[in-house]
């Protein structure tokens, strides 16, 4: 048993999501407590990205409210966005990018001070990229780039990270490393909200699952795995994997045959 009830960092009440006047999801209720690892899953178009943008206050909710607790301000949510095309050939050093995570702390200052720089260095050490400080971002591997962006997100927050498909486009080994890294951050006390396609990994690593779409589920991952919706999607996922594997072996067979 925990001694003290953990603080709710984010509470969503009757939240309605949408854009351009169309509601795509409504009556969404969930709470993220300190130390949670919440995974948001759902099919394409179910509103995962809109939910995330709403949590970050990039989009206004269409109804309901988002309550931030424990002194969390909206600027203090560390955000790991998906990579953009612009970033692929962007001339910037790792240090410059990580330091830009401090922009929310600057207030009216125009330049970074010593404390900002130390914070950037510290987070680069946590992500084990301090030796890359002067390396060029565009020459890094996909996994290293994600570590840089994660270090930047850590500069923006002490408490909570919001990760948007953090492993998309990474190869299986780097994906596993990335999940391990996120798990480690969570164990060190950072609250994690992660959007993912990968239901299996979600159930593997998360403490809570928010499934959005036609049916909505919110609860611990154990409850999810036992719920109808959870069983259905986990089974579906398994079938997809089996199908892919079957297709791959068939292809191999053909190749060998040729």
């Amino acid at each position: 048993m925990e001694k003290i009830a953990r603080m709710a960092l984010i509470t969503c009440r009757d939240l309605a999501l949408g854009y351009d006047g169309d509601i795509i999801l409504k009556n969404l209720n969930f709470t993220v407590n300190e130390g949670d690892y919440l995974c948001i899953v759902g099919e394409n178009g179910s509103g995962k990205s809109t939910l995330m943008k709403t949590l970050l206050h990039l989009t206004d909710p269409m109804g309901g409210e988002i309550i931030l607790g424990d002194g969390l301000t909206r600027k203090e949510i560390g955000y790991l966005p998906q990579q953009t095309v612009v970033q692929k050939d962007f001339p910037a050093s790792v240090m410059e990018i990580v330091l830009s995570g401090c922009q929310g702390r600057m207030g009216r200052r125009f330049f970074y001070n010593k404390a900002d720089k130390e914070l950037a260095l510290e987070n680069m050490r946590r992500m084990e990229i301090e030796n890359l400080a002067n390396a060029s971002y565009r020459n890094l591997s996909g996994g290293q780039q994600q570590r840089v962006l994660l270090a930047r997100a850590l500069c923006a927050t002490r408490k909570i990270l919001l990760l948007d498909e953090p492993v998309s486009g990474l190869d299986p080994k780097v994906t596993a490393d990335m999940y391990q890294l996120i798990k480690q951050l969570n164990e060190e006390g950072t609250t994690i909200i992660m959007i993912s396609h990968d239901i299996e990994a979600a159930v593997g690593f998360a403490s809570h699952i928010l499934h959005i779409g036609k049916r909505v589920f919110f609860g611990t991952k154990e409850d999810y795995a036992n719920s109808d919706i959870g069983k259905y999607f986990l089974l579906q996922e398994q079938e997809i994997h089996e199908n892919i594997e079957a297709a791959l072996t068939e292809e191999n067979r053909e190749e060998v045959g040729v």
Partner: protein, 277 residues
């Protein structure tokens, strides 16, 4: 006559000062514009400025800046705005405004000719001219003041410009006023373009903005070194181009741009060679 003799004349010194300052300012925002995929905004805006100059001369305004500057700034704001959520996408909007303004400007100049040498006037506005060699003291002071303002603002908001260039969404989430800084970038770029009209003319301004940035990006890998180096390249190219054009009697704008192109070619080759080593 040697270069030294030329330098005895104040108008040559004025031209060199103004040319260097304008190229320096133009190169500063080049890096951001190239990375934001707005390379053509210089072209679009300079044509707007051309149209505005036509209107100003039809109206027989003595100080054309009063009209040209605001019109160009408004168009810059509209163009950078539409990049985000318009029915007509950024590049199409720029192309539309660009050719539209050019056509209307030329049409106006033809319908209400202000001098007998119409094609000469048009050519001057499009390709820059010797007007850089006929600058008055007041023009020089105006350019110097505007350049200092542009450089000071750029240095102050340098970190914010990096933030909104590298990742607008992250910047927005971190509470940075992204729209404000995009607006600021638009205004600065409009000011620079109006200033640069005298130097290289409407058609060649884009070159001043993008070539130094592109050259620097071949050789350097951090945002700061790219920015600094593109400013250095720009100043060197402008000086070399102007001196060459004075000595050889070639058109000023075209010569500067030709030097920029050569330097870009060199930087590309060096970049390739270094990359392979």
């Amino acid at each position: 006559m040697t270069l030294w003799t030329y330098l005895q004349y104040p108008f040559v010194r004025y031209a060199l000062i103004v040319g260097v300052l304008i190229s320096l300012c133009a190169s500063l925002l080049g890096v951001t514009l190239v990375l934001k995929r707005f390379s053509f905004i210089g072209d679009g805006l300079s044509h707007v400025a051309f149209g505005a100059i036509a209107i100003a001369s039809v109206l027989k305004l003595t100080d054309q800046m009063i009209l040209v500057m605001p019109i160009t700034i408004i168009c810059a704001v509209l163009l950078l705005r539409t990049g985000q959520n318009a029915k007509i996408k950024g590049d199409a909007a720029i192309a539309m405004v660009s050719v539209g303004a050019l056509a209307f400007g030329y049409l106006l100049m033809n319908l209400f000719p202000t001098s007998t040498n119409l094609s000469g006037d048009v050519c001057t506005t499009l390709f820059g001219s010797i007007s850089i060699l006929t600058l008055q003291r007041a023009d020089v002071v105006f350019t110097v003041v505007m350049s200092i303002v542009v450089i000071a603002v750029f240095v102050l908001v340098y970190n914010r410009i990096f933030d909104v260039t590298f990742d607008e969404n992250f910047a927005r989430a971190a509470g940075t006023r992204v729209d404000l800084y995009n607006l600021l970038i638009a205004v600065i770029i409009a000011v620079i373009i109006v200033l640069a009209m005298n130097l290289v003319g409407s058609l060649l301004i884009s070159a001043l903005i993008i070539f130094p940035a592109l050259s620097a990006m071949r050789l350097y890998h951090s945002f700061r070194s790219v920015t600094v180096f593109s400013a250095v390249i720009s100043v060197i190219c402008a000086l070399t181009g102007m001196i060459l054009s004075i000595l050889a009697g070639t058109p000023v704008g075209a010569t500067i741009v030709a030097v920029d192109v050569l330097v870009f070619a060199c930087c590309t080759l060096i970049g390739k060679a270094v990359g392979r080593a």
